[in-house]
Every structure is written in C-alpha cells, then in structure tokens.
C-alpha cells in the first residue's frame, strides 16, 4: 500500500506545484500510515523531492516521454501505481495533469476528485473537500473505489518541508505505438513570462482601463511583482487582450495568493473565477463596484493616477526589502 504522487519535471526542474502535491501526498500518507512514492519522467536530479516527504522516486527514463503525451503518461503512471499498490494517486491541477488524470482513472478503474482543497476529512469513507459551482461552493466528495485519484487545487495546501531523503529507482513501462496516437506538432509557449497557472500573484485589469494601449502600466506592475497578467471577459471579447488571459467562469480559474483587480467591476462570473485566490485587492473609481464586497483590500480612485504611483512605490518597496 502506498500514496503515489505524479511530480511534473519541466525545463530542468520540478515545478512548484510538484512540490506542493508531494507535500500533500505526505499529509495523506501520514493519515494512512504509509509511504509516498513519486513518479516522474526523465528527471535529472530527484533529491529535492525528499525534502517534501517523498520516500521513493520512480524515475521513468524514456526518450519518447520527453514530450508530454497524455495517453502515454497516463498509462505509464498507471503501471507504476499498480506496481506500488497505490491506494491514492495525487496529481496537480496543471493543464497536463488535468489532461491525463481522467485517462489514468480509466486505467486504474479509480474514482477521481478534482479541485481538491484540503487533506481528506476521513480516509474511511475516503472524503475530500473540493470546490464546485466554479468556487461558489464546496462539495464534500466520497470516493468509493479501492484506488482514489486526487487532483489538488493550486496553492490550496502549500509547501511543507520534511527532513528526509528519497531513494531513486529506475522504472520501465511497456508503451506501444497506440499510446502515442496524439502527436505534438508544435509548442508555442511564452517562456519569459509568468503564466496564470503558475503565478503566485496575478494582476488583472478590466474595461476601466479604456483601451489596450493602457496596459503598459499593468504589465509594469506584473514585472515589479513577478506576477502574471490577466483580464476580465469584456476585455478579451473586445480583443484588447488574448483569450488566454480571460479570467472567470468561462475563462481561466485563478487560485493565486494575491489577486489585484484594476478597473474590474466584479461580475458574478468573474468573481467565481477568482474566488479561490487568497488575498484580493481592488482598485476602482466606483466605490459601489460589486468587487469591493468580495475583496480583502481596496482603494477607491482613478486607476490612471493610482497604478503609476503604486508602481513607483512598489519598486521602491521591493528595492528596500530585497
């Protein structure tokens, strides 16, 4: 019996979400009195996983798995999980993990709960708390299968360091041509920018900015804070910003530690999309904007005066606190 965690290794290192899911897997393993086994693909150095509670790493070294292919990754993780008699398999909420998790569930005939925000409240029956109705509510889900799959919501559990070392073992899987039926032709990824999916801080702006030419100050704030940029639905619909930045019920969900909303009134669909964020800050010239009711901090005023001043002062603050 074990808790297995899939730890994503990309561009020469483990993603921060990989360390978070490892921390979470250790929490479950403690509840169940068992060990944590991490599965990773073609990692150079797996030692860091020991600091987050991993006891053993199965490092699958397969050249054909250098590129993410959901069906092949799902099959490989399933084989490793079966070999380790996994009771629970934990994954992150990255685009790739969300892609492979349901395929993995079919391989393992396992019940799957996504968007989980806390350790199980009970391991028998196995019950987890997850978000539902796009963050407008929580749902306590009971998973009844022998093997359970959990997709952990980003930033929900945080990083928990442990004293410990992980042993590494090689693991090979039997993959055939059928497992690579979907081929990656081209990847178009902005490598120099913080993405909404990975960001601790998201700076978002809405129609209050009046036009796409005014986004420079938003991007400047994102640069200063090491944040990702985002926008409201009307802004992406107007073509001021790409659809990939649209945050909300039909756009991207944001579970950042800090979400700064500039010139966004706070439609119910937008609030649902950002509700999982921990601290919300609103900058808006309308004191009656609904967003103020959903925010932790706010400042009422003209974004064109406040944002440039805030940028200058944040720069000075960062310089004196670095």
């Amino acid at each position: 019996m074990s808790v297995v965690v899939y730890t994503e290794f990309e561009e020469g290192k483990f993603k921060k979400t990989a360390l978070e899911v490892a921390s979470y897997a250790k929490g479950i393993a403690n509840q169940m009195g068992t060990s944590v086994i991490a599965i990773t693909f073609n990692a150079d150095d797996t030692a860091v996983l020991g600091n987050y509670g991993v006891d053993k790493v199965l490092n699958l070294k397969e050249e054909q798995l250098n590129t993410f292919v959901a069906s092949a990754f799902a099959k490989a993780i399933a084989e490793a999980a079966q070999a380790e008699q996994a009771k629970v398999v934990v994954l992150s909420s990255s685009a790739n993990s969300n892609y492979l998790a349901p395929l993995l569930a079919v391989h393992l005939k396992a019940g799957y709960a996504s968007n989980v925000v806390a350790l199980p409240t009970s391991t028998d029956p196995f019950t987890v708390k997850r978000t539902a109705f796009t963050n407008k509510a929580f749902n306590h889900t009971v998973i009844s299968t022998d093997t359970k799959i959990i997709g952990l919501s980003k930033n929900a559990y945080g990083l928990k360091e442990h004293e410990g070392a992980a042993t590494e073992e090689a693991f090979s899987v039997s993959l055939g041509e059928d497992d690579f039926g979907v081929k990656v032709e081209n990847v178009d990824k902005a490598t120099d920018k913080v993405t909404i999916a990975d960001a601790e801080i998201v700076v978002s702006a809405g129609r209050g900015l009046k036009g796409p030419e005014n986004w420079e100050m938003v991007e400047e704030m994102a640069d200063i804070l090491g944040a990702a940029t985002a926008c409201s639905k009307p802004v992406s619909d107007l073509g001021w910003r790409p659809h990939s930045e649209h945050v909300g019920q039909t756009g991207k969900p944001v579970a950042a530690n800090l979400y700064i909303a500039i010139g966004i009134s706070g439609a119910i669909q937008h609030l649902a999309g950002i509700n999982a964020s921990k601290t919300k800050v609103v900058i808006n010239n309308d004191p009656e904007a609904p967003f103020f009711k959903a925010a932790d901090y706010g400042i009422v005023g003209d974004a064109f005066e406040i944002v440039p001043e805030l940028n200058e002062k944040l720069k000075a603050f960062k310089a004196s606190n670095s």
Binding site: Y99, N115, L310
Partner: protein, 246 residues
C-alpha cells in the same frame, strides 16, 4: 462525418447557488438552466462542420426529463437529433460510461464535450469517455480541423498552446476559442419551430455505477468587510504587514 456533442444541463452563470436544508442537494428553485458554456462552443464548432463538411450532428445528455428543454435548445441551434439517457447524472465516471455506450452504438467519428461543466467542475467526462472508447483525446481544445480521417487540434497549455495531430475517432474537451464568442448561435424562431419536429430519443441507461458521491455541500464562509486604504502608501503597508503577500 458523424459528430456527437455532449450537452450538460447547468445553472446559468449568474445563478446564486443554494442547497437544501441539510446541504445534501443543490436547490434548483428559481434557477435558470442553460447549455454548459464549454459545450456551447463545441456545439457551434459542430455546426460549422455540418455546414462546411456535411457532417451530421447529434446531441446527448445524461439526465431526467427536466433536461429536455436544454436539448431542444441544442436542436434549435441546428443539431439533427437528440438523445437523452434516462437517468440522473451521479458523477463524471457514471456519465462517461453511459455516454460511451451511446457513442459506441452510434459509431461516431468525433465526440465533442466541454472541458468541464460549470456546476461540478469535474473536468473528467471527456477524458474518461475517450479512455473508455479507446479513442484519441485532446483536452482544453481551442481549435479543431478535420480532414478525412485526420484531425489537427490546438490545445491550451500552461503559458501557451500546443498543436496536435491525430486520427479519428477523436474525443475533445472543448472550450472558449473553438469558435469566437460572437459566433455562438442563438436559436431563431425558425430553428425553434424546426426543433419541435426533430427526434429526441430517450434511451434507457445501462446502469453504470458512480465511483464518487457528492455527500454534502457548504458555501464559503462570509467574508469580512473590505479594508479600504486611503493612500497608495497605506495599501502597500496593508499588503506587507497585514496580508503578508508582498
């Protein structure tokens, strides 16, 4: 090409979410139900295939009779026929198994589902359906072209996008981007009239089991009042000392 579009019947995005007195069920009182927005993008893309490539488009839903107005709306938008699997949707796995049966019986080449429903947000039905069918699968699909037996799809990845090629049968988890929002179809009077005459077939379920159960619900704790800063300096001080986020 035979296309099956999976339609989830969900509360409108503006709905206030409430539960019954013991918090075990969603309270549908006063709630307007709509086609799941992610499915709506997929349905409109399917209409494009119908009009440009002579595809046939069926829609399917797993649910009770109360979901039929949502299926009729899909017919009014232009789907050729609808199938309702006559059972309550219990969890993603059960829904995927019921849909897999319909997909197998119908011999579909392309199955379009939304990447997730906006009620339970499981994000599992399209992937499980593909896994059960042994079909190709592309999740978070934002563009799709099909030519003969080959498909080219673009999916969203963290921080960008990826172009994929594969063969049919194919299942996609679709979302905004598959078509422009401005291209989404609103049923017109002619469509509504025609929809009344289109077949809506009710099929009995195969009795698939659920693997998970939504045991209870809770709403987020009420939030305290917003703390308003009088100046930019005060805002920075709050974020540093009070919230400890910078």
């Amino acid at each position: 090409m035979k296309i099956l579009v999976c339609i989830s019947h969900v509360p409108d995005t503006t709905s206030k979410i409430n539960f019954n007195s013991d918090n075990t069920e969603f309270d549908t009182n006063g709630v307007q139900f709509v086609i799941n927005p992610n499915d709506e993008f997929g349905l409109t893309r399917a209409m494009w295939f119908k009009e440009k490539q002579n595809a046939t488009v069926d829609v399917v839903n797993v649910g009770g009779p109360e979901t039929e107005p949502t299926l009729r709306k899909a017919l009014a938008i232009g789907a050729d026929s609808a199938i309702r699997v006559n059972t309550s949707a219990l969890d993603g796995y059960q829904v995927a198994k019921e849909l897999a049966k319909v997909a197998q019986d119908g011999g579909y080449d392309l199955i379009i589902a939304g990447r997730e429903s906006i009620d339970y947000n499981g994000g599992m039905v399209p992937g499980m359906l593909a896994g059960l069918l042994g079909a190709s699968f592309v999740n978070k699909c934002i563009a799709l072209e099909v030519e003969g037996n080959s498909a080219t799809a673009v999916r969203e990845i963290d921080g960008g996008k990826e172009t994929l090629s594969t063969t049919l049968p194919l299942v996609i988890g679709g979302q905004k981007g598959l078509v422009e929002e401005s291209d989404l179809r609103i049923p017109n009077m002619r469509g509504i009239m025609m929809a009344r005459k289109k077949p809506l077939n009710v099929v009995e379920p195969q009795g698939a089991d659920a693997e998970t159960k939504a045991a209870s619900f809770e709403k987020p704790a009420p939030r305290g009042d917003v703390k308003l800063a009088e100046s930019v300096d005060e805002l920075i001080e709050m974020l540093h000392n009070d919230a400890k986020v910078i």
